[in-house]
Assembly symmetry: C2
Homo-oligomer: 388 residues x 2
Amino acid sequence: MNVKSDLKFSKRGDALIGQEMFHILERANEIEKSGEKVYHLELGEPKMYPPGRIINKTIISLLENRVGYSPSGGLLALRKEIASYHSEKLNKKLNFQNIVISPANLLIFQFLDIICEVDDIVVLFTPAFPTYIAACNYIGVRTRTVSLSIDDGFQLTKKHIDEALSLKPKTIIINSGNNPTGAVYDKEVLGYLLEKAVQKDCWILSDETYGMLSFNKSFFSMLNYNYEKLVIISSFSKIFSVPGFRIGYLISGSTVSDKISLSSSTLYSCLPIFTQEGIIIGTSIMDEFTKQSRKYYKKLSKECASIIDESDLLSCTMPDSGFYLFIDIRKTKLDDMIFCQRLLNEYKTAITPGSSFGYEGFIRASICGNIKEVKKGLRQMVLFANSL
Amino acid sequence: MNVKSDLKFSKRGDALIGQEMFHILERANEIEKSGEKVYHLELGEPKMYPPGRIINKTIISLLENRVGYSPSGGLLALRKEIASYHSEKLNKKLNFQNIVISPANLLIFQFLDIICEVDDIVVLFTPAFPTYIAACNYIGVRTRTVSLSIDDGFQLTKKHIDEALSLKPKTIIINSGNNPTGAVYDKEVLGYLLEKAVQKDCWILSDETYGMLSFNKSFFSMLNYNYEKLVIISSFSKIFSVPGFRIGYLISGSTVSDKISLSSSTLYSCLPIFTQEGIIIGTSIMDEFTKQSRKYYKKLSKECASIIDESDLLSCTMPDSGFYLFIDIRKTKLDDMIFCQRLLNEYKTAITPGSSFGYEGFIRASICGNIKEVKKGLRQMVLFANSL
């Protein structure tokens, strides 16, 4: 089926231009097909083994032929588990109506699309998770960025919040337990954000996917606050090392969560039952399992940062959470895209340029893969930097 | 978390109003919770057992810890299998670039959203699958309907096509192997549609989900034609009785399928690997398995139609494909919504009003559930109709 090249897409269609991260992955695959080994530090795909009970329960569910439709908002039992888990932590009452199940990536789009018109302003703090940028571009909102600084350890500060709100946003997106920097934001600053957002009647989308993987600093959840225009997103992908399950959730007032359920119903009907039933079993060991993960990632991030230190041209702040290092390559004088391309082609190491996060002069190394490969990849990076 | 009721959604958010089908399901669940039995004929959720090898392979994949990310466009092996399956049937060359994997329901939205602007006209032939209507409303295109007639057995005719094209549509959606009517469209008419669409430079979205379940008439696929603005959607949900796997596919020129991959990447990243690997194994027995299904549904639809015939106030055309009966209730003088509500409340039988398909005076019975329950539900419907 041949297609002429002059086909016209809609504005939204034209706004879909793809992420550099995936182009790098493609190029890495090409190199591997030619028989050469590539070290993968580009994707946040944890290689720890997921809890056996999640896999086992998913399998049992499949064996019981639970292959039909589930409710659009997610299985009631899963919504209840999440509500009760957070209610206990917060000492406040959430119920299942506050929870809706959907892939976390999709929830970003779903939320923005039901709230924002094309003319509305959405503020992102950069470096920012590429999906925020891609979803905003796709929807066509006016995206404004406020740049964080390595001098503050990429912390969000009151100054950044004032700057963000001066842009008159409809929505501010924050991401504590940050991807890519690993920064965990201060309670005091988040309190200030809430206060100012309430004053300006601004929505807050708080992506807390990496909150439970906070190992150097106590994680403060925006869930501690009550505000009708506050929406929290999280996911089981990173917590349980099951990114392919595609199960995340949103917590909000029921007016918003009901609308998101309708969005899911219209867009894709529902998620599988069996994956959700697997995750339900996982929730009972979430604290125990993430405690192990935190310990592991804390040790790992130290070891990896010390490899980076071996080059005078590279440096990074120590992450407080997650499994990424956001590395300053400005001393190499190379553009971050060029750095990543050359690192891949010459040193067979795949990594993501800071430009993908709206932040030039830096690169993101994902250290959640096979540990030997990760360290080897980082050493390749040091070799490359030192060769410049 | 309390939310005031005066929260404002975007235009798109406001356009999400939900489907009557799901409200009926909710009401049915309420009745069941009170301890009463409900006969379910409202959802197209096949209760045949899926091929064991699909379930087994999915389980093996889970046991092998294949719980990471897959490519946004779907696993290459699955795209290749689908391309080669259709290439053999059609005696033409499709390759994996023509195929993109995504839930079929979502593909309807993805396609319309990358092609249509708000001002564009999309033509549906009613009765129409509710997702077309919901997706069009959500995107905000100007939806125009052309009404098919029971007098033609709900066939698409040249007259309907002329009417559709006179509305100057950007896109026409057709659905042979129709849900809800079961009609399979004539090759000659589809050829006429293609000819006219080419003349008018109009997109055709051909939903062929039920094509392989065509038992009374040879199914003619639009894939037989080459036209750059022709896009085919199908799904494994109904073929293999695994609706909860959420795996469908789109076939088009690579300019469109590449764009849909980017859409998936932006919206939800990817589908699970393990479900796709299960389906890959299924494709080798697709013809054999659907042959059994066709035989089963042919017999079943006859038996069910003969139950409907027991009431003078009800009638239906014999479906050519699928597992729905679209029943004319106009002689009952009841509004179809009222009919369905009363049937559920008084006779404990859940069924979908024609209004959900943009077609009043009719109801859709899904007969793919447990056969005893289905027949009992239809008998309840006859009792109700005869009581009027």
